[in-house]
Symmetry: C2
Subunit: 217 residues, 2 copies
């Protein structure tokens, strides 16, 4: 299995380590705090207490054999930047680092981070878009004004065909897929009737998705 | 315009307030720190310094006229829970609160939060899935093993038709949409040829998306 090292077990690092372990990866996790290490030992291959910027410690844990490194600390810029640098010096082919600001992200890229993530910033954008359409459960931006949204089958959808919903809405929008239980119906026909419990994946402008979901013209 | 109050201007609160302001909402932001309030005055309608759990302060800012309230503090459970309670007592119809753990989330729901978000946990899940397929830019989970992924047009896709890519991949997977510049091509025909700069929205099992993106059987 691919080997992944996660440095920093805050909310983000813990979630990443736990999900990777569930997907079958071999995960080594390092944190400076005793409690975080003790909690993690239940869902990673190896949990070690120590400083992620300490190259000797990382070598002693054979971290240089990892396929991916994840630097998941946010509060201290110094720890984040030094840990990223050390992982690249150890020769890890793909290093992901979490950034707290654009400037922090730029710094990480310049010292060799292969991917920079902004968990809180992205969550804020997603929430703001989903407030525009209260029913949206999830959203992938495509352009500044269009996106792909996941919507539950709302009461005024159930029992209607897609053709009827499109006619009512009269908007540039399309239902790309319907999830019905564990079945995925992609490119559904216009005659498909929406059932209770369906989930719809739509694409279109934010305004069109908003009007479609709220049953407005 | 709909009125929204945001309490707490950390990374998440700032991103939410900034995006909402950009979408045309009237945003009031409150933070206990002077610097956060000064920084926010450039991208919100009103920025005020003070304690989000102080009901008199919120009334003096006419917060009870808001359509949505967002509690964006994470470190202190007490501040998060009390601010959520105060917003519901003021009669705000939709209150979103950020939670740092499942238990915190449950507590918020029981005292009346209409929506609970877990920015760091969700970002960890998304990152873990995207590491399975390095090229995934974004991901919406559909079932525990399937999802919708956004992928750039990879070098081995460009110039090929979807039919050829499906034949090579031989997997249960479908391309729901292609974004080409500002144009969205939904339910693309099999003869559609992928161009440089396209972005693909795919649906299928994680394993199928992984094999498709990495050009493996
Ligand atoms: N030098 C270091 N080496 C290893 N672990 C560290 C180091 N510095 C901090 N940590 C750990 O990293 C974790 C997350 O760090 P921090 O609090 O800086 O980030 P955060 O952005 O608040 O995290 P999150 O939002 O994911 O909860 C903490 O558990 C902390 O103990
Ligand atoms: N009682 C309060 N009233 C108003 N603002 C507050 C209060 N307590 C904390 N804040 C502010 O909320 C912001 C975010 O708080 P906190 O650090 O608790 O959360 P966080 O989860 O680390 O944030 P993020 O991950 O979004 O950066 C900070 O700017 C802080 O000044």
């Amino acid at each position: 299995a691919e080997r992944i090292v996660v440095i920093g077990l805050g909310r983000f690092g813990t979630s990443t380590a736990r999900t990777l372990h569930g997907l079958g990866y071999e995960v080594t996790a390092i944190d400076i705090g005793e409690k975080q290490v003790a909690d993690a030992s239940g869902f990673v291959t190896l949990a070690a207490q120590g400083d992620g910027t300490d190259e000797d410690l990382l070598r002693s844990l054979h971290v240089e054999q990892s396929d991916v490194g994840i630097v998941a600390q946010g509060e201290s810029l110094e720890a984040s930047v030094l840990a990223t640098l050390v992982l690249k010096r150890l020769g890890i082919p793909w290093v992901v680092a979490k950034a707290a600001s654009d400037l922090h992200g730029e710094l990480l890229r310049r010292i060799g981070a292969d991917q920079v993530v902004f968990p809180e910033r992205d969550a804020g954008t997603r929430l703001a878009h989903s407030l525009a359409v209260r029913q949206i459960n999830d959203y992938i931006p495509l352009t500044p004004t269009t996106g792909v949204a996941k919507l539950p089958a709302l009461p005024h959808f159930v029992g209607h065909t897609l053709a009827a919903l499109y006619r009512d809405a009269n908007l540039p929008l399309s239902v790309l897929l319907i999830r019905r239980g564990q079945t995925l119906i992609s490119a559904p026909a216009d005659e498909e009737r929406i059932q209770v419990g369906d989930e719809l994946i739509l694409a279109g402008s934010d305004r069109a998705i908003d009007a479609f979901a709220n049953g407005r013209e």
